[in-house]
């Protein structure tokens, strides 16, 4: 009886150990919470080139796993965030960065909205100025001469 309980216990312990050991071997994680945070931030900013609307943090594509592995490796080697991002852009193109660079081919993207805003404000100001000028004209009282001419026209009707 006692032997059976002992065996069952041993099996349970072994199972528990096996279950706990799995995640650690399947995915090498950073122990340091600060590094883990940095890793998760970096991988959320990089876009999977294969499955185009996912970051490499969430994507299950093999290429994303390779990219995550490279990010991890570069972090271990002490690369800065900028160096890691640049390494990915050098290989996969500026497409992989969710933050577009500020370069001649992206000027329209960065400055465009402000140009449209300035045009819009200009149009509104011009309309307001025109409206005000018209209203001022309406509210100016008629001169003696104008009043006489207006009365003349009304009589002729």
């Amino acid at each position: 009886m006692n032997a059976i309980v002992k065996t069952a216990e041993a099996v349970l312990v072994l199972l528990a150990v096996a279950l706990f050991a799995m995640p650690a071997t399947a995915q090498e994680r950073f122990e340091d919470p600060q590094l883990r945070e940095r890793f998760s931030e970096l991988t959320r900013e990089l876009r999977c080139p294969k499955c185009q609307n996912e970051s490499i943090a969430e994507s299950g594509a093999p290429i994303s796993a390779d990219m995550r592995e490279r990010v991890r490796k570069m972090m271990r080697e002490g690369a800065t965030d900028e160096e890691i991002r640049q390494a990915m852009v050098d290989r996969f193109g500026s497409f992989v960065s969710y933050r577009p660079v500020f370069a001649p081919h992206t000027w329209a993207l960065w400055i465009g909205p402000f140009v449209v805003l300035v045009i819009g404000v200009g149009v509104v100001l011009a309309l307001v100025a025109r409206n005000r000028a018209r209203r001022e004209l309406d509210s100016t009282p008629l001169s003696e001469e104008e009043r006489r001419r207006a009365e003349q026209w009304l009589r002729d009707e």
């Binding site: 080139p49 294969k50 185009q52 290429i63 490279r70 050098d90 290989r91 996969f92 193109g93």
Partner: protein, 177 residues
């Protein structure tokens, strides 16, 4: 005079329509290679056929060549293979990059389907593939005599793609070299 402005919305709508229509024709999964105009990244990898032999970027220099990334796990490579065989028959030199594959399976594949490659680089870890920015096989690169990447195509290179995308560049760089 002021009436002209009434046409502004129409002009805007037509302009945007043309731009969007043009954008619809683009294939969003086709990314520009970051490597076009740059040298092939350096590597030191074994050859598929010969475990002892290894090679670096120098095997992609000296003449205009294609570099074709393939693997036996890649379904589209099956479709592409006969096209590569035909190109090889026409005398186009193609270097293979066997990507994340097993040597045995890859050699068997070449035995079965014919071998269009002048040589095949064996890259089971995908290290050169990663440096090239390979995100899906098959991919094909046109590399000039100086070892500079001139064109990249993701997907099957069939007769149409060869004639429209590769052949003009291939002829041009061959003349320049």
């Amino acid at each position: 005079m002021n009436r002209i402005w009434l046409f502004l919305p129409l002009v805007l709508a037509v302009t945007l329509g043309v731009v969007f229509y043009w954008g619809l024709g683009e294939d969003p999964s086709e990314l520009d290679s970051a490597l076009v105009g740059r040298e092939v990244p350096s590597f030191d990898l074994p050859m598929l056929g010969d475990k002892e032999a290894s090679g670096g970027p120098e095997i992609l220099k000296g003449k205009v060549q294609l570099l074709n990334v393939w693997g036996t796990w890649c379904a589209a490579c099956r479709v592409e293979h006969p096209h590569l065989n035909r190109l090889a028959e026409q005398g186009v030199p193609i270097v293979g990059l066997n990507y994340k594959d097993e040597r045995g399976a890859a050699l068997e594949w070449l035995e079965e389907r014919g071998d269009p490659y002048t040589r095949v680089i064996y890259d089971p870890e995908g290290s050169l593939g990663f440096d090239l920015g390979v995100y899906g096989a098959p991919e094909t690169y046109l590399i000039d005599a100086e070892g500079i990447v001139r064109h990249r195509h993701v997907g099957v290179v069939d007769q149409d793609v060869w004639e429209s995308d590769f052949e003009p560049l291939y002829e041009r760089y061959r003349k320049d070299g």
